[in-house]
Amino acid sequence: MSSSVLSMRTRRRFREVVFHVLVFSFGVVMLYPLLWLAGSSFKPSTEIWTTVSNIVPRTFTVAHYINGWRGFGGVSFATFYRNSFLYAGLGTLASVATSAFVAFGFARVRFPGRNIWFGCMLATLMLPVQIQIIPQYILFTQLRWVNTFWPLILPRALGQAGQAFFIFMIVQFIRGIPIELDEAASIDGLGRFGIFNRIVMPLVKPALVTSGIFSFYWTWADFLTPLIYLNDPRLYTVSVALRAFADPSGQTDWGAIFAMSFLSLVPVLIVFVIFQKQIVEGISTSGLKG
């Protein structure tokens, strides 16, 4: 009797060990490319293509980060990062503020035409950017907005360019708040804007945070829009700069390419570590693409 209990326990423990060994090794395989990128960026140039499959450098150097940071054409990565943070920062702030404001209108005000406009908003959920990009380019060219940040930020501030995801998510969130709260506040003399600002906004904070995180990710990784609208290297965001920097026909300083590539992922990874819980919940509940 006791021996069978013991064997069951050892069997269970054995299975647990097998599980962890398998799942952990698979995790290593998943992260291997990234570890390789990080490791290579710290190898001396002579080592990069001779000990290719090593992750840990034999000699450790930060020279590639210093060389790479200088950038190209007299413009350093400091400028590219400033531009990217400007785009991601302003784009995210504008996008979250607009999404919340618009979502409140859809969720809490009953006005004629609401269902039609809400349907239009949902229809843009899956509209690829390629559809509008040519007429938008013509429009922004005529406004002389090429080589400015307006074509990048304005569509986000006006709830386009994929922002419907955030509006929809916040609408869903507001619908979960009991309407009695609004009614009570209204009796207390609060107007619609007051209800939005003082009652609903504090309660939908989690949805705003999730929107903010994903908006940051999308703007940080955005490549097509800056590629089309920013032609002056002094205005390049990190993504466009990296593409020019890592152009195989021009650049052969592989260490610097690895270093700048890895560095551009660091802000994303930091946000991921800090907001992991919100990110996982955001995707699980609303199907936001990562």
């Binding site: 490319p33 618009v102 009953r110 006005f111 899956m126 690829p128 390629q130 007429p135 699980s284």
Partner: protein
């Protein structure tokens, strides 16, 4: 004036005030451009001189006189149809493995999700290019286990598209999270009663898991196919559309026509066709939305 009429009017003003940022954006930056695309698709336009009406010229050329167009369509569908089911298959398998009481699950989930969060960034594309390069990581790993590979993975028309498919599969993290959430919704009692009825592993999967998860799987399938049809950064950076146009995907070809050779009319015609294809897939999702949209609150229904 009637009090209710006044209240209705105030509500209308408030409603439009709240949605005005979106409404202005929708009319000027989405609806107007869509109408613009329709108009431009019937013209020849190089942005420097005025658009010239050529009727169905772009479409005739596209469908009958441009073999690169059809090659691009074929390559895009091949890429989407192969990569998306594989990605979702991986996502579901891993989600099922992680959907059991074990220690350290949060850690593993985060690890598997990391490639997904880095998503479409240029840095990951550059990294992928070097991994599959001639001197890259893959050939070095093969050499380690005694296989001397002289494969130029990105330069060979047989393998280039597969490097991109592999990249998509590697980023199975977000469907995995969605499937995990879906699996948690399936009540344990169902599995228990199936167990009593004699169902075991594989059968439980086909009798319970798959049917209950199918709306989620279907939704993800369509969404990912749409994203797959519009993939741009990865082929642009990793393979530049080559070799022999095997990765010259639709969005990339459209970009080249419109912004490298300034054939805006032709690009618009391509965009219009893309719109119809995406509308078709979106229509499928909306028709089936009652299966997957879940409203928790009864209040303030739109």
């Amino acid at each position: 004036m009637d009090r209710r009429l006044l209240e209705n009017r105030r509500r209308a003003i408030a409603g439009y005030l709240f949605i005005s940022p979106w409404l202005i954006g929708f009319l000027t930056l989405t609806l107007l451009p869509i109408l613009g695309v329709v108009y431009l698709s019937f013209t020849k336009y190089d942005i420097f001189t005025a658009p010239q009406w050529i009727g169905l010229g772009n479409f005739v050329r596209m469908f009958t006189g441009d073999p690169r167009y059809w090659k691009s369509v074929g390559a895009t569908f091949y890429f989407a149809i192969v990569s998306v089911p594989l990605k979702l298959f991986f996502a579901l398998m891993v989600a099922m493995i992680l959907n059991a009481p074990h220690r350290g699950l949060d850690f593993y989930r985060a690890v598997y999700y990391t490639p997904s969060i880095l998503g479409t960034s240029v840095a990951v594309a550059v990294m992928w290019r070097e991994i599959f390069g001639f001197d890259g990581l893959i050939n070095a790993l093969l050499a380690n286990i005694g296989i001397r590979s002289e494969m130029a993975w990105l330069g060979d028309p047989r393998t280039a598209v597969w490097t991109l498919i592999l990249l998509v599969i590697w980023q199975f993290g977000s469907p995995m999270l969605i499937f995990l959430a879906g699996l948690k919704q399936i009540p344990d009692e169902l599995y228990e009663s199936a167990h009593i009825d004699g169902a075991r592993g594989v059968r439980k999967f086909f009798w319970i898991t798959l049917p209950l998860l199918s709306p989620v799987i279907f939704f993800n399938l369509v969404m990912q196919i749409i994203f797959g049809l519009t993939v741009f950064t990865q082929p642009f950076i990793i393979t530049q559309g080559g070799p022999l146009d095997t990765t010259n995907f639709y969005a990339l070809y459209l970009y080249r026509r419109a912004f490298e050779t300034f054939q805006m009319g032709y690009g618009a015609a391509m965009a219009l066709v893309l719109l119809l294809v995406v509308a078709f897939f979106t229509g499928i999702v909306f028709k089936s939305s009652s299966l997957w949209v879940f409203y928790e609150s009864k209040e303030g229904k739109a």
